[in-house]
Symmetry: D2
């Protein structure tokens, strides 16, 4: 998996703060933005986010290039509807040389990894034979396992990103989309540190957990000083072995 | 594939017409709806849809139970963002006895079908072995081909449905989601005949085609008196054999 | 103000529960809905709403006829974007015999009410004269005060309604949209009691208040056994007299 | 009315083209964007917009500072739901020194303008007296005419902007929001000329008019070589004098 921040609103926090102040000022946004300082912008955003005035965050928008995640993962990703997607098409792009995502629970288990790799190889061979038999790409891909890698460009505004991080940085999310979410978070934190200061699962962002009964390893990790973003190496939260 | 209309707005066209008339009347919707007749509702809807006043259609909403479509198909389906989805989870539901969708281009080709069935069988066996090796369902499913069947409940309003039908009833859409779209259309046509009277691809709904250079078989079919909905038996539009 | 529930998803809670169960079941929604009981549906909804699985609620949709609220109020209302609106047009409907909303803080103050009524009367006269002078309705209405009454038909799904109630039933919301929100809530509570059981401002629905420093009268009212919905008679939360 | 482009996606057309090409390429967006030229981006966008592949346009986003439009106008504006708004609040900002928008049909008519100005003056006086009588701003504003000026910050993506221009640059739209739409269009055209090349009402963008029976002056204007954006000086389309 490779995640890059392709583009984002220039000076996102100044813009958000200027938009926010427009609500309470006699002056228009175009005048406010000329005078607002980074420090004041930061203070205002903190205050408004805390009291739940989240709509102002929508003015800042972030575009990611996501590479080499599985179609299992993107099927979850595109369920987030307040976002824009452009995804590699399996109808137009051949999967003959496709790569695959290996789940950590399989990578860690020699026997599992062996049969996993074998079936992927056979699937690829079947895919190629189907093409040779005249089956179009869009149908041949029906044999391709959900581990198959895909690329996708995603645009989300900061408000939706906070919601996305709340759900997908949580240990209840599957490991792959969780790893993706943490990488996206680390990228936007660099360019909008105030907006995303407390972003993450509710246990981090709000200090509460709506599913307390669920045995979660995140807090333990945090206590041990673990690197949060590195979640694809942690045990999977749903590992029932 | 099995598609049922699980639920819908009662008297959808009366409601839409009452909402529409609220815009032009001194009376509120609650009074208008008591007096409006089916005939007048139908006339008003036709007129307003024709001139592009589509927002009124959003007041009528339709919920479908969709059964036995592939995950390849639902990955396309859930890209329609103005809708609500509840989909069978591969994290919580085991795929040990899963069924698979066979594309017509494969079903029609004995050799293709044979290797298709073989790889599906092997994938299923690998899935089971991975579970035995302690891999959780959510990871074992990475080997499962995209042909795997899934169930999903979908709610869309009439305006978004018209847009969905425009894109997905078109011969450019893949055969599976096209078959799904036509079935959904035939179901809503029974309960909201005026709203969906001209629904379908732009060649039907608007008499134009934005992709004229594309060799489309739909019009030929229509000329031959073919049953439009029965598109999964037609040649695939992207069959380049 | 008059609010009526014009239409809603039949058996909304059974539908929501059937959609929810589709996620965790091998069976499709069409089979699940035949077997699910009201009691089980209620239990499932409570559980899922509690842990934050709110998307299932979107399958139930509610349409309101709202009559006699001010344009000041509807300008706030239509800011809720996940909803459908059909509003009386001031371009097509004459305001010659328009009625006006009187804020409680003005109704309670004889002198204020007097000058309020006088200016409304004069505005109406000016409106009529402008029409006589050949000014079209859409421009003559520029003199009409924001208190002018309007009718609107609104469709929202249960998830968005919960969000709407969270913001607009709160004492921080203006009295008019707050009164509207409480009336809408009392209407949907009758037909979907489980979904809306804890609906309302965060102090009610979640037991927390993101703006604790704000001097709120809601809890005091509740303690005194006050009728919550009757908020247009309470002191206005922003009354700085 | 003053409209400024506060912020926008840097190199919007390169980003859109890179996202678009991701769908048809083995390479991820992050690699594509490094190689794509302005010329190729332009060519690709033209082709895809023509065949209706509009979702790619959503990756480019534009933020406007809008100053001095009427609340009548913003009530229409905020009905566009795929957008983000931060508007000057009449609850928190006093209207004592408010300005007002004068419709051209009134500005052109000495008698109309006179009675228009008189009622605005009286409304302002009543507003001030209400504040003195202890009525809070949020209620005193009920007497303020809809002509009252407001400021608003608006963020829309290019796809929604095209839709907005289609509806609001049309002669059927009211003169004020039409003037606003044309100014917004002239601003984005400078920074994304290919995307907005054919933007405007359907008669311009698509060469068709869904309301042919409507007596429209736009084409006549165009024929006479009129400046399209300057629509607030044209006769009002609904002027029935």
């Amino acid at each position: 998996m490779k995640v890059e921040l392709l583009s984002y609103t220039p000076n996102p926090e100044l813009l958000v703060a200027a938009a926010a102040r427009t609500c309470y000022s006699k002056k228009p946004g175009s005048q406010i933005i000329k005078k607002i300082t980074t420090k004041k912008a930061s203070k205002l955003i903190k205050k408004l986010v805390k009291i739940g005035h989240h709509s102002i965050l929508e003015h800042s928008v972030f575009t990611f290039s996501i590479e080499g995640v599985s179609r299992a993962c993107t099927h979850q990703l595109v369920r987030h509807r307040i976002a824009s997607y452009s995804q590699q098409s399996q109808r137009y792009v051949s999967l003959e040389n496709a790569n695959f995502v290996v789940p950590p629970t399989i990578r860690r288990n020699r026997e599992a990894e062996e049969i996993f790799n074998r079936i992927l190889e056979e699937s690829k061979n079947t895919y190629k034979k189907l093409l040779e038999l005249g089956v179009p790409e869009e149908d041949a891909r029906y044999v391709v396992p959900q581990a198959v890698q895909t690329n996708i460009v995603v645009t989300m505004n900061a408000r939706e990103l906070l919601h996305f991080f709340k759900l997908r940085c949580c240990m209840r999310a599957q490991w792959e989309i969780r790893a993706l979410a943490w990488r996206m978070l680390s990228l936007v934190k660099k360019v909008a540190p105030t907006i995303f200061e407390n972003a993450g699962p509710p246990c981090i962002s709000e200090g509460i957990c709506p599913e307390e009964e669920f045995p979660c390893k995140l807090r333990e990790m945090l206590k041990r000083g673990g690197k949060i973003g590195n979640t694809d190496k942690t045990n999977n939260s749903h590992n029932r072995t």
